[in-house]
């Protein structure tokens, strides 16, 4: 567990919360994608998705390192990226629910990556203009990776959506399952507002336009249901995140401070 004084610092500092939110999105999505390692439908795609998971892990690390630095400076307690990733409990994670849902089949996995990657693309594009130097630098580094993730996942959405009867059926099913989890990404919460308040409506519009154009090319019917799940950003998660963390955090919990 994180020390109580670090926890209370995080609870009252919006910038740290925002950094953790961005980092948690990247880490949890990365972990889900990494679960495909060795199980991909074909060697080349197994490597492709593992590469993407590693990119996302790298983004998460940059953000955790920066958050850890700020916490160390402000509280005087030495804090590391590992502590932030491995010693926080479910309720302290601030990732969107979409990131933690199970992988499902290949179609569901690529669709999740497309929905979330497209959002990250427009978000990081805006963060490249951030007033916070370090965040700006992380966004500049990440955007090239994310551009490729979107290209790769959009390609798959097109192939499967516009493919055989079975692949299309699976994409329709995946979309039905994931759609209600997309709204949360686009509605900024209190700790996001100071950093992307003015840009959030632009990000939402750009995301919607991107999704609509790929769906129409893939001949997927755009969902019309407007009710959206939310809670992840505030630490209220689905049952799936607990299981994910139990596996991901096991080593650091069992052997605190262990290094390779």
């Amino acid at each position: 567990m994180l020390q109580q004084s670090i926890k209370s610092y995080i609870q009252q500092d919006l910038q740290t919360q925002y950094l953790l939110h961005l980092a948690d999105n990247a880490l949890i999505l990365s972990h889900r994608n990494s679960q495909w390692c060795g199980h991909g439908p074909i060697l080349e795609q197994d490597i492709a998705l593992t590469n993407i998971a590693l990119d996302q892990l790298g983004q998460a690390r940059n953000l955790y390192q920066y958050a850890a630095l700020l916490i160390t400076e402000k509280t005087g307690i030495a804090t590391t990226e590992d502590q932030l990733a491995y010693l926080r409990d479910v309720g302290e994670f601030k990732n969107c629910l979409l990131a933690e849902l199970p992988n499902g089949d290949w179609g569901q996995t690529v669709l999740r990556n497309f929905l979330m990657g497209s959002y990250q693309f427009f978000l990081y594009q805006e963060l490249q203009q951030s007033a916070i130097g370090q965040l700006k630098a992380i966004a500049e580094k990440s955007i090239k990776e994310i551009t490729y993730h979107v290209r790769w996942s959009a390609d798959w959405v097109l192939r499967l959506g516009d493919g055989t009867a079975e692949s299309k059926g699976r994409m329709v099913q995946a979309l039905e399952l994931l759609w209600a989890y997309t709204g949360e990404m686009l509605e900024p919460c209190d700790y996001e507002l100071p950093f992307i308040a003015t840009q959030s409506s632009f990000i939402k519009a750009a995301w919607e336009a991107k999704i609509a154009s790929v769906f129409s090319e893939a001949s997927l019917v755009h969902p019309t249901n407007e009710w959206m799940q939310s809670g992840g950003k505030k630490g209220i998660h689905t049952e799936h995140l607990g299981y994910l963390l139990a596996e991901m955090q096991f080593l650091q919990r069992a052997y605190p401070g262990l290094e390779w």
């Binding site: 074909i42 060697l43 490597i47 492709a48 290209r151 390609d155």
Partner: protein, 122 residues
């Protein structure tokens, strides 16, 4: 005892055959993705060199797969892919008449000429 031997040429067999006995349904050769050859030019390189091969359903995916499989360690700045079936190979059995006549014609090497200084990359 009868032995069944089959000669395989590079590229004309799929993964399903590689392990000998293991042939499961999803590795039906009819459903195999086509094989592609990958050529890459490194940052300092002047020409594209053969890097290996991979499976993909079309050229777009072949390029992306090549990027993911062969450029992970900054090996290249340009990629060509070509479907393996479009490559025609010289017949190994014809190697004698194809290549050996060149062996004793050393005068074909440019070492007998003075090269101008301005000529690079020879």
């Amino acid at each position: 005892m009868r032995l069944y031997l089959q000669k395989n040429h590079y590229g004309d067999y799929g993964d399903g055959h590689a392990g000998g006995l293991e042939q499961d349904a999803h590795q039906d050769p009819q459903k195999q993705w086509p094989l592609w050859e990958v050529f890459m030019r490194s940052k300092q390189g002047l020409d594209h060199k053969h890097a290996g091969s991979l499976h993909a359903v079309d050229a777009t995916m072949a390029l992306e797969n090549a990027r993911d499989v062969y450029t992970r360690r900054k090996e290249g700045v340009s990629i060509w892919v070509v479907e393996s079936k479009h490559i025609h190979a010289s017949d190994p059995n014809a190697a004698a008449e194809f290549f050996e006549p060149a062996n004793d014609k050393i005068y074909r090497h440019p070492s007998f000429y003075d090269l101008p200084d301005s000529l690079k990359h020879m």
